[in-house]
């Protein structure tokens, strides 16, 4: 141990930090400057489609947390229909297993939006029509390759450049 050298290691380190002084910042100024997230983003909401859902409850069974609360009944035409579906987004871990479990393929989606915040926990519990697609929610491409193709390409840090040159 000990100082085997005479400060040249320190000098090298100082040279490196000095070099970084002239590199472009890698941070982004968030609310103004937004990066595209992944096309497969598991965003912070789940979007449900009443028309295509066959009320099989596979999603509720697949959920590891048990945060999908679904009650179904047979209607007049002997078809199952969803009476009530409630998802507690305070519990949901956005694992995507419900989306994978759905046999229909386009009845339940994760959202592409990820900015979701409420002041009260009770407001995180959404049910029925609140879960439907609306123009504030966008569907993510997770497990839905057809949707994935329509979404913009993800911004990657590897592709960022430093003053016109790629990051060296």
């Amino acid at each position: 141990m000990g100082f085997r050298r005479y400060g040249n290691g320190i000098a090298k380190g100082m040279a490196l930090t000095f070099k970084h002084l002239f590199r472009k910042p890698i941070t982004t100024q968030y609310p103004e400057e937004r990066l595209n997230v992944s096309r497969r983003t598991r965003g912070t909401q789940i979007i449900w489609n009443r028309d295509t859902c066959i009320a099989c409850s596979a999603c509720a069974r697949a959920c590891p947390i048990g945060c999908i609360d679904m009650s179904t009944s047979r209607g007049e035409d002997k078809k199952l229909k969803v009476d009530n579906i409630t998802i507690d987004f305070g519990l949901c871990i956005f694992c995507g297993l419900c989306v994978e479990a759905c046999p229909v393929g386009n009845a339940i989606f994760l959202s592409y939006n990820w900015e979701y915040a409420e002041y009260q926990r009770s407001k995180l519990v959404l049910s029925n029509d609140e879960l439907l697609y609306s123009n504030t929610k966008q569907v993510s491409g997770y497990y839905h390759p057809d949707v994935e193709k329509t979404l913009p390409e993800q911004t990657l840090l590897v592709n960022r450049t430093n003053r016109g040159k790629p990051w060296d």
């Binding site: 290691g9 983003t41 871990i93 297993l97 497990y143 840090l157 590897v158 060296d168």
Partner: protein, 367 residues
């Protein structure tokens, strides 16, 4: 003349900037010298092993993410491997390669974090940490691309992985792999020869070879003590036998050696990634597995070389949908057991650094 001094006890943690989570070290100090320490764990205990018994096999995958939450991909892998062993599921070749790519990327990301926070414990004002987070960010970006999330990936499935990698993935990965050695050189330039860092790390917290083996330490810590033991080589799971790579080892087993081993392992991971990209075969990524998987009665143990050491999952099945028992061999917990021997006699500042050089993740220690 000897002054009469009185030892005093201080609590490092559970809320302390360098305990890397909620961990408590009850240290008895004589002035600055650590006379005794007593690690107190359990602040983050969530009972993962017990929760797992109440859920079915597939639902346990997200749980494993939450063990070592800075290296989720490598936690998924041994669990699905254990289930595959139990249920005798064959994995498509492409999926094996994707798994290895993910595991190696995860290793780089985890080591970057380990070295970065070690530098922070040493007192550099976040600069190496920030540089290393830049590269970690690039890797996390790629993980986000394949599985949609940045921290808890939930990507591996029984018989493969949940998604095939998208088309943009391989070019981006190539770019990452080609620039990565340059960045590792930069870290070396910043840290490896710094005299203050050498004075702080060299010879500090030596873990002798015998002690390392006897206390069942694994991963970079074991290799820094001079034992050439890497599960990727000794029990080449998945398709690791198809790659050329070395196992970096050091001799003394001090903090500096642990740091060196991590840096060199990153270089080796880059090598593996290069080969994996080249060899990546086309094909399926997910074998057909029933969603209500009921493995036959039996038990299985699968282990991998996770970034922090040997991570193993031991599963017992009673032919139901849920595992009868899941036990996790968490490398962080077992590596932590060697802490006391290493720390005693060193100064308080060294204790923090030695603790940082073990690189534990409290999610895994407490489970």
């Amino acid at each position: 003349m000897t002054l009469k001094t009185e030892p005093f006890v201080i609590n490092l943690g559970p809320v302390h900037p360098s305990t890397h989570g909620v961990f408590r070290l009850r240290a008895t100090l004589d002035g600055e010298v650590v006379m005794d320490i007593e690690p107190i764990i359990g602040y983050l205990h969530r009972g993962i092993e017990k929760i797992a018994e109440g859920r079915n096999y597939k639902q346990d995958i997200p749980l494993t993410d939450r063990l070592d939450y800075v290296a989720s991909m490598s936690n998924n892998l041994p669990y699905v491997m254990a289930v595959e062993k139990l249920a005798e599921i064959a994995v498509p070749e492409r999926a094996e390669y994707i798994r290895i790519i993910m595991a190696e990327m995860q290793r780089i990301a985890s080591h970057l974090l380990a070295v970065g926070s070690l530098a922070n414990d040493l007192g550099t004002f976040f600069t190496p940490f920030q540089y290393m987070f830049r590269e970690r960010e690039k890797i996390v970006d790629l993980f986000e691309m394949v599985c949609g999330q940045r921290l808890l990936y939930n990507y591996m499935r029984f018989g493969g992985v949940s998604h095939d990698i998208p088309d943009e993935f391989i070019p981006a990965l190539c770019k990452l792999v080609s620039t990565m050695p340059g960045f590792i050189d930069e870290y070396d330039q910043l840290l490896a020869e710094n005299e203050i860092l050498l004075a702080r790390l060299k010879g500090v917290g030596i873990l002798p070879k015998e002690l390392a083996i006897n206390s069942s330490v694994s991963g970079p810590m074991l290799r820094a003590s001079g034992v050439e033991w890497d599960i990727r080589k000794v029990d080449s799971y998945s398709v690791y036998d198809r790659f050329n790579f070395d196992i970096p080892t050091e001799v003394i087993g001090d903090c500096y050696d642990r740091y060196r081993v991590r840096i060199q392992e990153m270089r080796q991971s880059v090598r593996i990634l290069e080969q994996a990209i080249e060899q990546l075969p086309p094909g399926e990524v997910l074998a057909k597995v029933s969603p209500r998987l009921k493995p036959p009665v039996g038990e299985a143990y699968a282990h991998i070389e996770a970034p922090k050491g040997e991570l193993g999952f031991y599963l017992v099945s009673d032919n139901s949908e849920k595992p009868y028992r899941l036990h996790i061999r968490a490398p962080s917990l077992i590596n932590l057991t060697a802490l006391r021997e290493m720390v005693i006699g060193w100064k308080l500042a060294d204790a923090i650094v030695i603790f940082g050089s073990i690189d534990i993740c409290l999610g895994e220690v407490d489970r």
